[in-house]
Subunit: 511 residues, 2 copies
């Protein structure tokens, strides 16, 4: 894997001086086209062994490019706000918008590799993390991002020489730390772990470039040229959607059985019983969220459902039980300009709650496989890959002690018609009914199929869907509260039982 | 001040039950108009003595309103990311966008009052903070926000009764903490301090409403009605700009003296000298930013100047000396949709750097008093009040150990013409010259006057402007680096000398 990067690559000064001005000019030109077109973002990982020249090369790049459109991230110790969310949150928040170049000196590979080398994790843990990274990068690439990953390699001998020479010079001595020497002791372990990681995560969409780090000129020109060629190629290719792969079909319907039609829509709760149970469930929910263990978890609740199924009313029965400072209801409407410049899931990641809080999504990331699928707002490839991306997203949440509850509020076609009509004649509810609602009704069957596929593909054991029979509003609200309370109860119990996770502290970060 | 709020106000249950449905309906109606028009945001502070019913009233409000368009903030302990920025940063980031209602249970008043009652600060410190709050709210109001401030009051006797009764009930016992009793001991001190604070900060644009907190029904209806009436009034008034006050004129020009014309624009640095000094200054800057004390401060550098004055080139000479992970260059272009939904300064607050970092603004908040003034993009009142708002903003930065350096890169009319022409014939620079640049040249004198006014009004002892004679690019770059290094040097020295600020830890927050 590292063979080509131990050959002693070098670039002599005169060639460098001759090539550089042209390279810089072309890079700037490409960057300005990128900035003005805003067609995609560039995500550049610059990593490698200590002393391999990451820092110097990133600095050169910043000098060559227009720094106003470059964002460089060091990714040192996570802040407490970052520690409160899934590991990947800090990378999501650092993603560059379209038109910009995001340089990651320290990336989603740093901690998994470091933890493995330090013996804090098992090989299986590393592989899980690498798998997550591959998914992440595939999603980024599918969303149009250009991903470049560099690994600056040094042979053992070269690393030792490099550290020694840095240490000899009074001007650079400060840069060699205890940690660097400690890592040098671990050289073979690092090399083995890195080779493994690079092999598993070098994909067609985001390959690794392993570059010999000994010679600064060689390293810089390689980095600059690869960046230039990659951007150039994408710019020249235009922004054709990268995929037009035909997807496998949904399960064909060959009999009359059907998930939604199998629901018993006649279920209801009488008014009197409703009031008693509502009060008791709200009381229970209030107590659960005041449990000290609740400060160690958080909740993401998703409300989806047919138009007029009563999502808003159900949400209010939940929030009515909560301290207003603990929750945030996030109504999902059309994405904003800043959200459109990011991968699809970004606008949901940004709203993830801290520990001890609840985020309640009124519509959600499932829009991709519901309205966007049915109305053709995205390509077939885009919604087809979304199932997987969503499962991966929710797995990361659950891994981080986030309780994920998902409700589909289902009403029958007839009940919806009755509610629409009632809205039209109630002055106070007229704002709730639009032409679009009537148009959507015409696609009832297509929406039904989308819901069935969604449930089949994203109801996982860690984040199952709850189908809520909502023809009777009282029944629906009680069921929602009941399921939410039960899920919380289970999570809190599990959390109390479980020995706390291995600490990830204590690994020195690169300065 | 509290007289009317100790009269034993009460609302009987039957009146309440009768009034409430109508009030709720009207509130919802008003909220939906607010949401659909997105004309302004509502900022609602709910504060008061412990046991005064803040929590309960905020919860009722969340029940009455559509929670999807309400954001409630508890404002407990600041996170480390928040502590790294000026005190007000956490409130800026929590501001609701237009169309939403932001409820602050805990606000920019909490800490200043608490610190004073606990004897951690002097009366003068409190007054400074209150003064800052008045400025902040005036700015918010001028930006169109509707601000409502509630103080729930209890007489000493009532507070004692309230705490005792909460404690007696097993269901509410958990809510009474040691801290509550401790605060009750401090009742008189709290009352005195609060009376002082409320008096100084009750303004026409953001008055305090002091409401007796004993009776829940009374309290809720007061809050609901005041909120309703205020929103209603603003909605019905339309969105006419609140001000059309004529401003005082700029200093008239009665002789030939003129700040910009007094610059010696012939100054230059020869190429050889430039190279030596550039290297030495960049080395010095690199060392300064690696000083351990640099981790305690941060830097905000502002670059403004005539078109083609060489801002970009100067910025690159600064960033060339820095570790790429330490800085962020923020190019200021037209505000995004999310930024337009917030007060003018919001889009600059969001980019404030953490400790140990530099934020370099390529154009800045001064756009308001430059291009927006000259081109008429905002009203005269808006740019006239901006001087004050900007000085206040920068004072908060400096208070928080942020080094603020501001450069105006000045070139002569003739030099600009020459550079524009050169850009037009250099293939690589054509993208840098647009029709707009030529149009702006026609307003040269108006821009000159705007620059002179800006410097006169915002060059403060804590954040002075540096006028940079930029006809010679080398001279300009050297001067920028020199001033930046000197400012940093001074700040680092001051920081080392100064005994560290009084700790603000150790004051229990409301749970």
């Amino acid at each position: 894997m590292f063979e080509s990067a131990e050959l002693g690559h070098k670039l002599d000064k005169s060639t460098y001086d001759e090539e550089l001005p042209r390279l810089r000019e072309q890079l700037l030109q490409a960057q300005y086209e990128l900035v003005s077109q805003k067609g995609f973002q560039v995500i550049l990982i610059v990593s490698g062994v200590d002393g391999g020249g990451r820092r110097e090369s990133v600095r050169s790049l910043n000098e060559w490019l227009d720094p106003r459109h470059v964002e460089t991230h060091g990714m040192g110790e996570p802040s407490d706000e970052e520690r409160d969310r899934p590991d990947m949150w800090r990378f999501w928040r650092a993603l560059p918008p379209k038109g910009k170049i995001g340089v990651f000196q320290g990336s989603w590979y740093s901690m998994p590799i470091l933890e493995r080398v330090y013996g804090k994790t098992k090989l299986a843990d590393l592989d899980d993390a690498l798998d997550r990274n591959v998914h992440f990068e595939k999603m980024l690439a599918d969303e149009g991002a250009l991903i470049l990953k560099f690994w600056f390699h040094l042979s053992k001998k070269n690393q030792e020489d490099r550290l020694k020479s840095l240490q000899k010079d009074p001007l650079t001595r400060w840069r060699v730390t205890e940690r660097d020497w400690h890592h040098f002791q671990l050289y073979d372990k690092f090399k083995k772990t890195t080779a493994h990681a690079l092999r598993l995560t070098s994909t067609a969409q985001a390959p690794w470039y392993i570059i010999e780090g000994t010679d600064e000129r060689y390293r810089n020109v390689m980095l600059g040229k690869l960046l230039l060629e990659s951007i150039r190629k994408r710019l020249d290719a235009g922004h054709a959607p990268p995929h037009s792969i035909g997807n496998l079909p949904s399960l064909p319907r060959v009999d009359e059985h059907h998930l939604l039609r199998s629901l018993d829509m006649t279920q209801m709760v009488a008014k009197k019983e409703y009031e008693t149970r509502l009060e008791s469930l709200q009381g229970r929910l209030a107590l659960l969220t005041r449990d000290p263990a609740f400060q160690k978890i958080s909740v993401v609740a998703v409300f989806e459902g047919n138009d007029a199924a009563g999502k808003g009313g159900a949400i209010r029965r939940v929030t009515g039980a909560l301290d207003a400072r603990m929750f945030q209801v996030i109504p999902i409407a059309a994405p904003t300009e800043e959200e459109r410049a990011q991968p699809y899931l970004w606008r949901f990641w940004r709203h993830l709650p801290r520990r001890g809080r609840l985020a309640i999504f009124d519509r959600s990331w499932y829009g991709r496989v519901l309205v966007e699928r049915v109305e053709g707002y995205c390509s077939e490839y885009d919604w087809a890959r979304a199932y997987n991306e969503i499962n991966e997203f929710e797995a990361q949440l659950v891994d981080h002690e986030v309780v994920v509850v998902k409700f589909w509020l289902s009403i029958t076609n007839e009940e919806q018609l009755a509610r629409f009509k009632a809205r039209e004649i109630t002055p106070f509810k007229q704002f709730k009914i639009t032409e679009e609602d009537w148009r959507n009704r015409e696609k009832w069957e297509a929406y039904e199929q989308a819901v069935v596929d969604m449930v089949d593909r994203t109801s996982t054991e860690i984040a199952p869907w709850t189908l809520v029979e909502a023809n009777d509003k009282r029944f629906a609200r009680i069921k929602v509260l009941q399921v939410l309370c039960d899920s919380l109860d289970k999570a809190l119990k599990r959390h109390r039982d479980k020995s706390s996770k291995k600490s990830r502290q204590g690994i020195p970060r690169n300065g």
